[in-house]
Amino acid sequence: MKFDMLVIGSGPAGQKAAIQAAKAGASVLVVEQVARPGGACVHRGTIPSKTLRETAVALGLVRRRSAGAFDLKLPDDLKLASLMTRLDEVVAAHQKFIGEQLERNGVERWHGRARFVTPNLIDIRGTDGNASRVAAKFVVIATGSQPRNPDDVPIDHERVLDSDSILSMAYLPQSLVVIGSGVIATEYACTFSALGVQVTMIDRSPRPLAFLDEELSNEVKAAFERDGGTYLGGRTAKVIETEGGTVFTTLDDGRVIRSEKLLYCLGRVACLAGLNLDAAGITPDARGLLAVDQHLRTSVPNIYAVGDVIGPPSLAATAMEQGRRAACHALGLPLSSSSQLVPAGVYSIPEVASVGMTEAQVREKYGHAIVGRARFEELARGQISAIEHGLLKLVCDPEERVLGVQVVCEGATELVHVGQVAIIAGWRADAFVENIFNFPTLAEAYRVAAFDVCKQRAKRAA
C-alpha cells in the first residue's frame, strides 16, 4: 500500500501531524503499537496524573477555603484508585475523541509496530506477527519516550517505581522519595505531598523545574516546602536499596533517607527500539535522541521526527505544534511565524506557565528588561479563592513591549494565554491598563503587573 505520509505513534505529536497532513488532502496512515490511540499522554502520563492532581488540589482548596471548618483527613488505608475514580471515564472520553478526530479527517489507523526497510518502505507488523509493507513519501517518527531505568536502580514497581507504574500503587504511601526535579518529578512530588504523603525530592539541581525562570521555580520550591515537602538540591542518590517495606536512599553526602516508596524520574529515553533506523539511514545521537533541523527533518530528508524523540521540552503542547509543523513542511504548506510562540505549562501545585521570553532572555537580547510583577495574594480574587501565594511576571523590552509572561499560581496554565495573545498582538504593557478586565478575577494580575511597569517608568522619569 502507498501513503503520502506515514506517522509512527499516535500521541499528541503524531495525531497533529496526521490531522494536518490529512486536512491538506494527503493520504495518511498512523501506526500505533497499542490498540488504543493517544500514546503515553493519555494512558500513562499527562491525563492520569492530572486526574489525580485534580483531587489533590480540590482537597487543599476545601481545607483552605473553609478555613479549617472541615477537617478533611484522608484515611490511612486510602486506596489510590479511589482518588482517581473518574480516570477511566476521562481516559475513555479523550481516547474516543482522538479516535473520532482521526477518523473524521480520513486518517487510516493500524495497530502494529513499524520497522524501516528503506527510508520509504516500512513493514508494519501486527501482534500476530504478520507484516504488511507500506510505501510512504514522508515518514514522521513520533514514537515518544519512556522512563530511563538504569541497571543499578532496583525498579520493582512495588517499592521502587517509575512514572509508568507510580499510579498503580494500591495505597497512598506514608512517605515517598522522588529522584529528579523535572516536570514529571515535580508534578508527582507536589500531588502526593498535597495528598498528605511525606515527600522528599532529591536532585542535583538546586531547585525544581530549573529550566524555568528562577523566580518561578523558587516559588514552586517554596510552595512545595510550605506544603510539608522536603527538597534536597545539589545532591545525588548514590545507592537505592529495598528491604521489607522500606526503601533506603543513600545520598552522595552519606545521608540515608528512608521511605516507603521511591519514584525514579531521572530522565526519559526515546522509544526507538525496533524501528530499524539503520535501514532508514538515521543514527540517534549520543543521548539516544533524533537530531532534527529547524523544519523537524532528520538527516534523511523525507523523514521527520517530532515530540519526545527529539528531546526537551517534551511537553504535549510543544509536541503537537512540532507534529503540525513537520506535516506542513513536508507538504509545502505555509507556516506563520507566530506559531513559534509555544507556551509551557507545568502542573505542579501551584501550576506554573510561561510564554515568550524570560527576564534573563530579554536582558540578554535588549540589554535591559522591564518586568512588572503582580502578587496574587494582593488581588481580591486571590483572597477570595484563598490563593496565598502566586506571582505573575510581565516581561517587557525597554520600549515596554510585552515579550514574555511567566505565571505561578493555581490556574496559571490558563491565565498565561492572555499574555500569549498580548505578545502575538504586539501590545505594550499600557494596553492592560487602558482596557477593562472583570473584577474580581485572577486576570486582573495583568493590570496590576502593567501598573507596576508604569510605576517604574514614572520612577525612571523622576
Binding site: Q33, V34, A35, D76, D77, H111, R113, R125, G126, T127, D128, G129, D156, H157, E158, R159, D162, D164, S165, S168, A170, Y171, L172, P173, Q174, T242, E243, G244, G245, T246, G274
Partner: protein, 263 residues
C-alpha cells in the same frame, strides 16, 4: 458410565448453586495476607505472623529458594527472605503454600491434582512475567494465575464426597468433564472467600471468556503454561507482539524448574 441422576443433581446444586463449602485459609496465612495489604505492614509484624506457624516458615523457606525467587545468595532466614523479597512476594508465596496444603490435595487423585497445581503455579509465574513486561506490579496477575483452576480440585473433592455419601464408585473418566464446566465460577467464589481483590476473583471467573485486561492476561499465561505459542486474541488485547511473548517465554527454564521443585 455417567454420573447417577441423584449425584448429578446434588453435584449441580453444589457447583452452580453456591452451596459448596469452601476451605478457609489457615489462620496464620489469613493474618499475613491481611497484613501484607495494610499500609502499616512492616518486617517485624510480618515475620511475627508467619512465625506463629512453624510449618509455614519451613514452607516459605522452601519456596524462596527456588529459581523464580532466589538470587545469587541463598536465603537462610525468614526475616532475610521477607526483607529481600518484599511483602507482596511473601504474600504470594503464602498463597502458594495455602492453596497447595488446603486445596490441591485430593486423595485418590494425587497425580492429576499435582499436575493441576503445577500448571496453576506456572500460570501464576507467567502471568507475573507478563505483568512486569507491561510495567505492572503483577500481584493480581499472580493471584489470579495461581487460583485460576483451583475450582477443579475443589469440585473434584466435592464429587468424591458425594460418591462416598451415596456409597458409589467414582469412575475416573467422569471426573474432568464434571468439574470442567463450573471450575471457573467456583474458583472465583474461593478467591472471594479468601478475601482476595474482586478483580482477581473476576479474572478467575472469566479466564475462559476474558473480557478485560487481567482476564486476558491470565488466559495468555494459561496458554503459555500449557506450552502453547499460538496466543492470538489475548496477545492483541494486551498489545503483546511475538517478540514480547518470546521475551516472556525466555523465562521458561526458571519457571519450569521452580514448578518442578514445588509441585
Amino acid at each position: 458410565m455417567a454420573l447417577t441422576a441423584s449425584i448429578q443433581t446434588r453435584f449441580s446444586a453444589l457447583a452452580t448453586g453456591g452451596e459448596l463449602s469452601l476451605p478457609i485459609l489457615p489462620d496464620a496465612i489469613a493474618r499475613a495476607l491481611d497484613l501484607a495489604g495494610k499500609p502499616d505492614c512492616d518486617l517485624r509484624k510480618m515475620s511475627e505472623v508467619v512465625r506463629r506457624d512453624a510449618s509455614l516458615v519451613a514452607h516459605v523457606m522452601r519456596v524462596v529458594n527456588t529459581p523464580a525467587y532466589a538470587a545469587a545468595t541463598k536465603l537462610v532466614s525468614l526475616d532475610q527472605a521477607i526483607g529481600r523479597l518484599g511483602f507482596v512476594t511473601i504474600k504470594q508465596i503464602l498463597l502458594v503454600v495455602a492453596s497447595q496444603a488446603r486445596v490441591f490435595r485430593v486423595a485418590g487423585f494425587e497425580t492429576e491434582v499435582r499436575a493441576t497445581f503445577a500448571h496453576c503455579l506456572a500460570t501464576a509465574l507467567y502471568a507475573t512475567e507478563i505483568a512486569k513486561h507491561r510495567k505492572r506490579l503483577g500481584d493480581e496477575a499472580f493471584m489470579a494465575g495461581l487460583l485460576h483452576d483451583i475450582g477443579r480440585p475443589l469440585l473434584m473433592q466435592a464429587l468424591i464426597d458425594l460418591h462416598r455419601e451415596e456409597r458409589m464408585t467414582l469412575e475416573p473418566e467422569n471426573v474432568w468433564p464434571s468439574v470442567a464446566a463450573a471450575h471457573a465460577r467456583v474458583g472465583g467464589a474461593l478467591a472471594d472467600r479468601w478475601g482476595l481483590p474482586p478483580r482477581v476473583a473476576e479474572a478467575i471467573r472469566r479466564h475462559h471468556s476474558p473480557d478485560n485486561e487481567l482476564s486476558h492476561l491470565v488466559a495468555l499465561a494459561d496458554l503459555l503454561a500449557h506450552g502453547k505459542e499460538d496466543v492470538g486474541s489475548h496477545a492483541a488485547v494486551l498489545d503483546m507482539y511475538p517478540e514480547d511473548v518470546a521475551e516472556i517465554v525466555k523465562r521458561k527454564d526458571v519457571i519450569d524448574q521452580t514448578v518442578k521443585e514445588l509441585a
